[in-house]
């Protein structure tokens, strides 16, 4: 091989090598730029969080010294705003896999409390002793958390800690040596120690266990229930699994495949009730109307012994109709007891039912006697006079403050917009106002 050819090859290779180095360097630069961007986002979220805790601490301390309601209300509104910002900061940190719940919960409790106080008329209802006591404890707690966070922040700044590294160690569960994570765990523990507010706004309703009537079904019984229910042939293979201790009620989950569909059903262990099911298959062109589907759904519910139900909502989504039914007793609509039915509009088959809310809420209800003291006309007097009232009926709804209440459900319109207003049937309190929309423009 003549020497000059060899030289040309050398030169070409050299150019290639230099090119590769330059390319690699540029790639590296770009990657770094992106990493820095992501890192900066994390840093901002963290430093913001620290700052907000500081602010929160200061606001809570000052509210304790305030006497004039005209000062307390806006201060409480401020606290509410800061907690919601702090929550947003927490959710931007790579901590989802780290137990940071207590902190989030505490922020939430402070927020709820501050909101409730800020909207109430403090001239009539000043902060009571219990609330002041809670605020004092809260002041100590937030002070502690503030200094813990400042400590972590100091560490982050002096050691040049990168949240990207923390993200990696959280994701790989290798967090033993990480000082920052340890610091955050201290914050979390502090937050967990405080429960002064949870006593104020107790939520007993959620914790109540549901107990269903009926005998206990075992796995074989359940298979029989499902086979009968869906008229499956005996060869169809059923996969049955039980629920764990996190479930509200013990349920068996059954899934199966037939020639035409994949089915999934939930059956209660007590009583063998089918709580919900979904049959999944390809749905052809619609030949049935939404109204046809409604008739199918009504017949089915009657067959299933849901006698006292009325349809309150129906919607057509391309090839399926979805219907919402609620329990109606003595002309009162029980909104917590709802059943949804899905009907395929190609052949009118019911492809899904969920009666979970109906069965569980029906069972949970203690108070069963609801009597209105206001008449319909009196209730309508409580409504904004711009609303053009269209229909009125009695309904039981779930409220955060007082559980289930009886209310007049008033549907009305203002300038073509439909509103639903619930007026408490006993004291005329405007429980809830909703704007009703049903469709959205296609963009």
């Amino acid at each position: 091989m003549p020497g000059w050819i060899r030289w040309i090859i050398y030169i070409v290779l050299l150019i290639g090598l230099v090119g590769a180095i330059i390319w690699g360097y540029q790639e590296q630069q770009e990657k770094n730029a992106i990493l820095i961007k992501a890192e900066n986002n994390y840093q901002r979220a963290f430093h913001d969080l620290t700052y907000r805790m500081d602010e929160l601490d200061e606001k809570i301390s000052t509210v304790l010294a305030m006497n004039a309601p005209s000062n307390i209300s806006p201060q409480m509104a401020n606290i509410w705003k800061i907690t919601s910002e702090a929550k947003a900061d927490v959710s931007q940190l790579p901590l989802s896999l780290l137990p940071f719940n207590q902190t989030k919960q505490l922020l939430n409790q402070i927020g709820d409390f501050a909101y409730d106080v800020s909207i109430r008329d403090l001239n009539d209802q000043p902060l009571n002793d219990q609330e002041l006591q809670a605020l004092r404890e809260l002041k100590d707690q937030s002070n502690q958390m503030k200094s813990d966070l400042r400590q972590v922040q100091n560490q982050v700044l002096t050691d040049g800690v990168r949240w990207m590294d923390i993200e990696v160690s959280v994701a790989t569960n290798d967090q033993r040596d990480d000082e920052v994570l340890k610091g955050l765990q201290v914050v979390e523990e502090d937050a967990g120690q405080f429960d002064g507010l949870s006593q104020l706004n107790d939520s007993e309703n959620d914790k109540k266990q549901v107990e269903l009537d009926g005998e206990t079904y075992n796995q074989d019984d359940i298979e029989q229930v499902v086979t009968d229910y869906f008229e499956l042939n005996e060869q169809t293979e059923l996969t049955v699994t039980e629920t764990g201790k996190g479930s509200e009620v013990p349920i068996y989950n059954v899934s199966f495949d037939t020639d035409s569909f994949h089915g999934y059903a939930e059956v209660t262990e007590q009583g063998g009730n089918v709580l919900s099911y979904l049959l999944n298959r390809d749905i052809g062109e619609s030949t049935k109307s939404l109204h046809d589907g409604r008739l199918v759904a009504e017949t089915l519910l009657k067959d299933l012994d849901y006698e006292q139900v009325e349809m309150v909502e129906s919607k057509q989504y391309e090839k399926v109709g979805v219907y919402k039914f609620v329990h109606v007793h003595d002309d009162i609509y029980y909104y917590p007891d709802e059943i949804q039915v899905k009907v395929a509009l190609d052949d009118g088959q019911v492809t899904g039912v969920t009666a979970r809310d109906f069965i569980l809420n029906e069972n949970k209800r203690e108070k069963r006697e609801f009597e209105p003291t206001l008449t319909e006309e009196e209730a309508i007097d409580y409504i904004h006079d711009q609303i053009d009232v269209q229909t009125t009926r009695l309904a039981v709804i779930e409220t955060e403050e007082s559980g289930e209440v009886l209310a007049y459900e008033v549907l009305g319109t203002i300038d073509g917009t439909t509103y639903r207003v619930y007026i408490n049937a006993n004291d005329g309190f405007e429980e809830r106002v909703e704007r009703l929309t049903q469709s959205e423009e296609v963009y």
Partner: protein, 272 residues
Amino acid sequence: MMKQLLGIIIICLVILGTNMTVSGFSDQVIQKGATGDDVIELQARLQYNGYYEGQIDGVFGWGTYWSVRNFQEAFGLESVDGLVGDKTKQKLVNATEYDERYIKQQINNNRDVNYEGGKQPDQQTNEPTQESQESQNNQDAATNEPQAVNVPSGFSQNDINLMARAVYAEGRGEPYNGQVAIAAVIINRLDHPDFPDSISGIIYEPLAFEAVADGQINMQPNAEAREAVMDATNGWDPSGGAIYYFNPETATSDWIWSRPQIKRIGKHIFMK
């Protein structure tokens, strides 16, 4: 004289011709929540005699519902129930006119349709024939795309789209109920104090979903994932009220095992 007569006959024929398209209603009873051509006709007819003031969008929403009820009441129908059955349709057809071609042209050209009685025929005659020919072609080309669709309350189409992406990225290959359960977890988080209160906030929370972290979220979801999201938004919750789920084969966090488990569907364990 003969020519005049012929002219009158032709005019009559033309009017008849437009009237021929009037009896468009199919046999179905139209109820609130319905979509499609019958609803467009219903809205157009109600607008024609002044009972409906909203958009002619082909979705039987609240506005249409009140219009129907008011119409039923004013025309002395026995049941004022908002259901459009034979009697209501008959009254409507007798009292109003409907020019399907004109309405659809307007809709397809994205024009606000104003179909109050009396106004519309003038407009139509003023329109040059060529243009109406053109819009006729446009209408054929735009194969009846709906103007509006029903959405589950509290969710927009784009929310549903985003959730469908998340469900597809996280749960493709899982059984159908497993996909509904993933969508249900996202929805359960909405009301939970530990999580952001928007769909996008929940999905894009750092490290919350693996498929978001590795960019799989950007894939186009399939029809099954969309359907699963629709079922979840309409109230089905196969997860049993879960707010977390994980894949036990790839999970690395100890903490996740400490949560009370609800059930396992496919590869995922769902937890409180």
